[in-house]
Symmetry: C2
Subunit: 394 residues, 2 copies
């Protein structure tokens, strides 16, 4: 099916300057990986987020792989993860043998509920993963307090929320660990893939250069630079093998450049989200993420709960009209992970997350890529209104 | 130290056409990952190598991770790997719980010795990893026969040998599995990182799309495209969690373009290697890789064994003179893996590989990046001769 407004595989365009950055590295950089641009990118992220240790990687999933390893989870220890999130939030913790415990979302924010976290904590809870889904900050004051009191490792999955804040602090600066994604559809993308790992502890941060790059551990500088070998291969985590999650120089340089406009890109999304949400004020059957402050949300996506009970209609009816009548591709997102065959087969098919299930079964996610033209955006608004009116029987 | 001829972090330059390919995708591709370019790249690799199933990935290390998972290795089963190789050849097999058994090299080829493979096989041998190190094809006729007779899974690590052949068949077409690398220093590089996985079995190949991309398993095309979710997450390997090893569209498109000139690039290296080796014919103390046919070697690198016994000198003396007198950075490569702390700590510190140890302790690897100017290459030859003469006491 060909749509007038499709679900784009990409979020934003590149400026001439950004394209030139890539061309210049292709033309003249002596190395194309593990070089100076990666260091510059990491320095800039640290400054931007307000953290001490940040590492460019191939993806947020790779960052979560390393986080799961550094959490040192023993067989049977529990990791609390919202059931309503992308599968990569949970897979790495499954791999290291954690028992995954699904937490519910708050029906007003569509992100993890602090009250439900408290219900899901047991004596075996080692790690809590919160996901700032769709770009909205979880309630980090309450959540940080819970983790601190219960001595639980706090992981922030900021894959969708680069640049968003909770009470004036950037997301990623609250957790013991955090990850960011620069995938093709994210608010900024480093050529389609890319991610970042933030680590709070200085000791843990020392492990990352080896963990992400085949255990490479440089020897101190020495006159006979080749003795006993060019570099060492070692790792100070007993029993753990390293990975290769190296980010390329072009990705790093592009990322460095994009940080200069992430606030601009995010504000553009915030403005558009406001226009859309305001335009729907006459349709209370469409309920958007409750966002206490616009900076709390990077509006990576624009999801809504559709409550059509009064009109005996549901989200399927809406999505169908949008596709068939208006040629607009709305979708549903984040099938509760406990419902996927992968997690069922792995023994994590059970969840007590009624809000997540209810939300997913009634949700609509609107196309919201940054490069959507204004004309198309206006068409999206008008079509949405028309579809809602049609469902009301008007 | 600043060198006149440094050890470059990069192998080759990009043509205007290759740069334009990247710019065009940055400007206009609707998705920057998991798109049409990846499919085109994979089709072209299959045709080039002569295989049925090839998959673009983030690196050769990622390919080996997936291979190790697909080999279904039970605790205590053995994997034979040459001790003289890059650490990523072995790490994924360690991760899945294999007992790594180190094989020795042939002193004439510097790659795995078929005779030693036979010595290292036991009843528990499940997998053999051969590495076409420095670009030289291992003896695939003998090796294939051994694996076939003993029912051993054959893995070709072609990270350094893209395009090289063994008896008119491209490397990567012999094994049950094979990996290629397009890292910054490789004969062709997809923007600094990148790799490819080749799978012989149709059944195993079906597992790769999910294994490399978070278990994504598309539903069949359907009218209500969002029901029950946009896509499925599943995997048909009991107990195995998938990874995210997605290659970007720019890398794939660039790789596709580079395949058009890989034979040209490799022939350039072959010609230069011949010039260098011929120029050293008066110095029998320098012994190069025995290469039965030039197409058997992609000459990714140019290593030599230095036998200075007669002159009471060793490779350290040579490398030191090259650095101090001629400002040329020669290095030593592939510290036998059993000597690295990582492998010692993991219980793989023991090896019976006297040829590998002896070779490493006497080796020289000459700078050999493709973009080295002819003037510099001539200087490398003259300086090498002068250093060898100096070591002879002339």
């Amino acid at each position: 099916m060909k749509f007038r407004i499709d679900w784009s595989g990409r979020s934003h365009s590149y400026s001439d300057k950004e394209i030139e950055t890539v061309v210049q590295i292709m033309e003249s950089s002596d190395t194309l990986t593990q070089g100076q641009h990666l260091q510059n990118f990491e320095a800039k992220i640290k400054n931007f987020i307000g953290v001490n240790h940040a590492f460019g990687l191939t993806s947020a999933a790779s960052a979560l792989e390393l986080i799961a390893l550094m959490c040192d989870i023993k067989k049977g220890e529990e990791v609390i993860i919202p059931s309503h999130t992308y599968c990569a939030s949970a897979i790495p913790f499954g791999r290291v043998g954690a028992k995954i415990v699904w937490a519910d979302i708050d029906p007003n924010t569509f992100v993890i509920s602090p009250d439900d976290i408290i219900k899901k904590i047991t004596e075996k809870t080692k790690v809590l993963v919160v996901v700032h889904l769709y770009g909205l900050a979880c309630e980090m004051d309450k959540i940080s307090k819970i983790c601190s009191e219960k001595n639980i490792i706090l992981v922030e999955d900021c894959a969708q929320a680069f640049g968003a804040k909770f009470k004036n602090k950037r997301l990623g600066s609250y957790g013991d660990f955090a990850c960011f994604s620069f995938h093709s559809q994210k608010n900024i993308t480093t050529l389609g893939e890319g991610g970042c790992l933030v680590v709070k502890s200085k000791e843990k941060a020392k492990l990352v250069p080896g963990l992400r790059h085949n255990g490479h551990a440089p020897y101190p500088s020495r006159e006979f630079y080749w003795k006993p070998a060019m570099g060492n291969v070692d790792l100070d985590i007993p029993g753990i093998w390293p990975y290769n999650f190296s980010m390329t120089e072009v990705q790093a340089a592009l990322g460095e450049s994009l940080i200069d406009r992430v606030d601009i890109l995010n504000n553009f999304r915030r403005d558009r989200a406001k226009v859309f949400i305001d335009a729907m004020s006459e349709f209370p059957e469409l309920v958007f993420q409750q966002t206490p402050h616009k900076e709390h949300n990077s509006y990576h996506l624009l999801p809504a709960f559709y409550n059509g009970t009064k009109y005996r209609t549901n989200n399927d009816d809406f999505i169908n009209i949008m596709a068939k009548t208006y040629s607009i591709k709305c979708i549903v997102q984040y099938y509760p992970l406990n419902r996927y065959p992968l997690f069922v087969k792995m023994g994590f098919g059970e969840a007590n997350c009624p809000n997540a299930d209810h939300f997913f079964d009634n949700m609509i996610s609107f196309p919201f890529h940054h490069w959507m033209e204004d004309k198309e955006f206006q068409y999206l608004i008008q079509s949405t209104k028309s579809a809602l009116n049609e469902l009301r029987g008007n």
